[in-house]
């Protein structure tokens, strides 16, 4: 069983909250979900929509068809009707608008119910959730409990007041449409406790588990909810979250905190990342660990702020003037986001250099089901590795200059924490000697450049991971993709397999640097490699060509601000 529920309405009237509530309802009844939001870059007056794909097994991609469309206004119907089938249900208020009888109509008098109970426009959502739940055969208690949790602080009366809208919507459908009721959301007997988390929340959870103690950011869609989430947790976690005056201050405050010895991170999108880039180079030469969360949106410049794109891979890989090591990771989904965020903090400390975790609006703001047990296992198994940071040197009779940039085999030098008695040192944005002092001499320059470059070799040897392979090893068609398109490709593979088209799929999540030799060997002659990316250049393709000499000619690219759809891939093989 798999179905898609979608709700739409005017921006500013609670569509986002309602969509997330629907995801939680489905999850609490024992189902898995994947959801996706669409909204314009404004607060009022535009169209917002939220779609949830529900199944009894894992969901990795959105569906082409909408099974239940909840229209809080006519625009919702007009915008999304092309995805409806004759069997699709449309929940709407015939007082607001009407349409021809080509879909299954479920008329719910939103306006009348609001008037009867004296509710505000935003409570239409609650009625809609009640009506949806009735149609899908779920029990109302799940929703009334969620409402109780939401309004408990405001007292019983407020809880009851809100609950009555849910019940009214629910009863309306039960009474008038009893023959249409499905059992899609019938409560499962065996339920595994699941968390509903977005990519941004996955990063936030990862940061907390990794013991990140300092996070700075300047609001920028689609990264802002990391700032909101971590800020709201501060009193619990003890993390310090700073909303600084601009992204330059953001990264430099974090670098200061990291220099002082606490794990630090920043989050932004392309425009803000542009402002941080000079300081990224500073982190590279001064060897200051930093985790940068980069949630992409379509550029250039302000671009399309609330939509999705994978347009900043090349920028991330090559950000910063001069030559310095940096590591770029791009999780494929929420689980990978947790795992790779945890890894990112270990890598930043181990290599004392910037690590960039790339997301995009699709991954950042969409939710997926994650089993609580899985997450708890991840927490238990996680080992903080601070590398050579915070070593305790022998006490000295006299205060001494610590060799912060001592030449080593693996390129990584020991660091003591500022304030350690008996020593001092400086971390320097200029080229420097082993003791941190500025130099312009040739020999120490070469030594320090070589030292920093060695970090990459050490990383590729110890921590780099080859792309994950999914599907048929023998297949002739091999997809090559990275980051958030993973789930869509997995679903496309499934669909193609049903049509007897065998495929394989390399998913890269360790993007840069690449192990030239190992990655190069993955690509065989006589196979058909197809690059799938949410951008117009095929940026992973360019990195592969540059780093490994592998050229992929065939490309499936999408750059209209929307995520790649399963059909974008599948349609190419069904002529």
């Amino acid at each position: 069983m798999i179905f898609t529920w979608k709700i739409g309405g005017e921006a500013g009237f609670g569509i986002m909250t309602t969509g997330l509530l629907f995801s939680k309802i489905a999850s609490r009844l024992g189902y898995q979900i994947l959801d996706y939001v669409e909204y314009p870059s404004l607060i009022r007056g535009g169209h917002n929509a939220y779609e949830v794909c529900v199944s009894d097994c894992q969901v990795t991609a959105l569906n082409k068809e909408i099974d239940i469309l909840v229209c809080l206004n006519r625009e919702t119907f007009e915008k999304h009707k092309q995805r409806l089938t004759p069997q699709s249900f449309v929940i709407y208020d015939s007082e607001e608008f009407n349409f021809e009888d080509n879909f299954q109509k479920v008329v719910v008098p939103f306006k009348k119910i609001l008037n009867d109970f004296g509710g505000q426009a935003v409570m239409k959502n609650t009625i809609a959730l009640g009506a949806s739940l009735a149609l899908l055969g779920g029990k109302i208690e799940v929703l009334t409990n969620l409402i109780k949790e939401q309004f408990n602080k405001k007292g019983d009366e407020v809880v009851k007041f809100n609950q009555q809208f849910a019940i009214a919507g629910y009863e309306e459908v039960r009474k008038k449409y009893s023959s249409s009721i499905k059992n899609f959301l019938a409560e499962k007997e065996k339920k595994e406790e699941k968390m509903i988390i977005s990519g941004n929340e996955a990063f936030s959870l990862g940061a907390v588990v990794a013991d990140c103690r300092f996070y700075a950011a300047y609001p920028m869609t689609p990264s802002s909810s990391v700032l909101h989430t971590l800020a709201s947790w501060q009193e619990k976690t003890g993390m310090i979250v700073r909303h600084a005056e601009d992204e330059i201050s953001v990264i430099n405050t974090a670098l200061g905190a990291s220099f002082a010895g606490v794990r630090s991170a920043v989050g932004t999108s392309g425009g803000g990342f542009s402002l941080m880039v000079e300081s990224l180079s500073f982190a590279g030469v001064a060897e200051i660990p930093i985790v940068v969360f980069l949630a992409q949106r379509p550029g250039p410049a302000t671009g399309m702020p609330t939509w999705t794109e994978q347009g900043d891979l090349l920028f991330a890989a090559f950000a910063g003037h001069g030559e310095f090591p940096k590591i770029v990771l791009a999780p494929g989904d929420q689980k990978e986001m947790i795992e790779l965020t945890l890894k990112a903090f270990n890598l930043a400390d181990t290599y004392q250099t910037p690590v960039i975790v790339i997301s995009d609006m699709y991954l950042s703001e969409g939710h997926r089901s994650v089993e609580r047990e899985w997450f708890e296992k991840i927490i238990t198994n996680y080992k903080i590795n601070r590398g050579k940071i915070a070593v305790s040197p022998q006490p000295q009779p006299k205060t001494e200059n610590f060799l912060r940039y001592k030449i080593t085999e693996d390129g990584i030098s020991e660091k003591i924490l500022p304030g350690t008695p008996g020593y001092f040192y400086q971390e320097n944005s200029y080229e420097h000697l082993e003791d941190g002092h500025t130099t312009e001499e040739a020999k120490p320059r070469i030594d320090q450049v070589d030292k920093r470059n060695k970090k990459w070799a050490t990383y590729l040897e110890n921590d780099f991971q080859l792309p994950n392979f999914y599907g048929d090893k023998e297949a002739e068609i091999i997809f090559v993709a990275w980051g958030s398109t993973k789930g869509v490709l997995l679903e496309a593979q499934k669909k193609l397999n049903e049509k007897r088209v065998k495929t394989g799929f390399y998913h890269f999540n360790h993007l840069y640097p690449l192990n030239q030799e190992k990655v190069g060997f993955l690509f065989e002659k006589n196979k058909r490699y197809i690059l799938v990316e949410n951008n117009s250049w095929g940026q992973l393709g360019k990195i592969l060509a540059m780093e490994t000499g592998v050229k992929i000619e065939e490309k499936i690219l999408r750059y209209d601000g929307r995520p790649i759809a399963v059909d974008d891939i599948v349609k190419n093989f069904l002529s």
């Binding site: 609490r28 406790e193 699941k194 968390m195 509903i196 929340e201 907390v208 588990v209 103690r213 300092f214 947790w233 501060q234 009193e235 619990k236 976690t237 003890g238 993390m239 310090i240 700073r242 005056e245 601009d246 330059i248 201050s249 953001v250 430099n252 405050t253 670098l255 200061g256 905190a257 990291s258 220099f259 002082a260 010895g261 606490v262 630090s264 000079e278 300081s279 500073f282 001064a286 994650v370 609580r372 997450f375 708890e376 927490i379 205060t399 200059n401 500022p418 304030g419 350690t420 008695p421 020593y423 001092f424 040192y425 400086q426 971390e427 320097n428 944005s429 200029y430 002092h437 500025t438």
Partner: protein
């Protein structure tokens, strides 16, 4: 007990007669007087002749980018507020490239001490005009004379909410030492604008120029009065230069208002958070 020698790093490369010599000496002496040693103090340096002090002063130090010393200093303070944190910067560095950071550090009352070497010219890049250069100043970047009026740093940071604003003169080291000690001891944001002759590139604002125009604030001056302080600061516009603490106000600093730091343990010394269940529940 540390002495001046302990704080002394490499041999400075400043021009003979440069005001930076006096400022460098004053900082070291102030740190000794305050009973600090190089392992107990954090200093962030900007980029410019002032920032080059990084090699001449021993401390746990970060030699930052041009303009970015202040946010670095804020980060260090938040991560380990037990360390005194000083930012050594220049006028182009702090009033030009990093001007935005200055305003917000002041309004946040972050507990850092910003010492600005104000020579009213770009020294290290060989003599272009600076944000504090006088109007009409002829330089490589303004051959027909500077059109803009100079920034008044004292008025600027007072308006931004700084709780300690002072002015010193590189030609009066003893007086400057006292100001630096007061600034470091102040709880909250402190800024010292140090008038610093650049003997190579600024032939206008020389030692002679300043000696004729500086005067020390005496004991009768009420430094707690913001209106008087603003008035005092405006004297700069008439080329009169009061020396001393222009303004000081008691106010809780940024980190003192963070609930995370109420236990008095520095962020870096706190126990790791492990009560994940408290977060997980919000996702069910």
């Amino acid at each position: 007990m540390a002495n001046i020698e302990d704080f002394t790093g490499y041999q400075p490369t400043w021009c003979p007669g440069c005001g930076d010599w006096g400022i460098g000496m004053a900082i070291k002496k102030a740190l000794v007087d305050l009973n600090f040693s190089p392992d107990k103090v954090a200093v962030v340096f900007g980029i410019g002749c002032s920032g080059n002090m990084n090699d001449f002063l021993n401390a746990y130090a970060l030699h930052s980018l041009h303009g970015r010393a202040i946010p670095n200093a804020i980060g260090i303070k938040l991560a380990n507020h037990k360390l005194p944190v000083i930012a050594v910067v220049g006028d182009g560095d702090c009033y030009g490239e990093g001007g935005n950071h200055l305003i917000h550090a002041a309004r946040g009352n972050h507990d850092i001490t910003v010492i600005v070497h104000d020579n009213r010219v770009y020294g290290l890049t060989t003599g272009q005009s600076a944000p504090t250069s006088p109007k009409g100043f002829k330089s490589k970047s303004t051959p027909f004379g500077l059109i803009e009026s100079p920034i008044n740093p004292l008025t600027l940071v007072l308006a931004a909410g700084a709780t300690f604003v002072a002015q010193g003169f590189a030609g009066d080291i003893n007086h400057l030492i006292a100001i630096i000690k007061d600034a470091i001891s102040h709880q909250g944001f402190s800024l010292i604008n140090v008038l610093q002759p650049c003997v190579t590139f600024n032939k206008i604002n020389t030692y002679q120029y300043y000696l004729q125009r500086v005067y020390k604030l005496d004991d009768s001056y009420q430094k707690e009065d913001i209106k008087k302080a603003l008035e005092k600061s405006l004297e700069l516009n008439e080329e009169k230069f009061p020396l001393g603490i222009i303004y000081q106000k008691k106010s809780r600093s940024y980190h003192q208002q963070l609930p995370q730091l109420l236990s008095d343990k520095a962020l870096i010394d706190k126990e790791r958070f492990v009560e994940y269940d408290r977060l997980i529940l919000g996702f069910i």
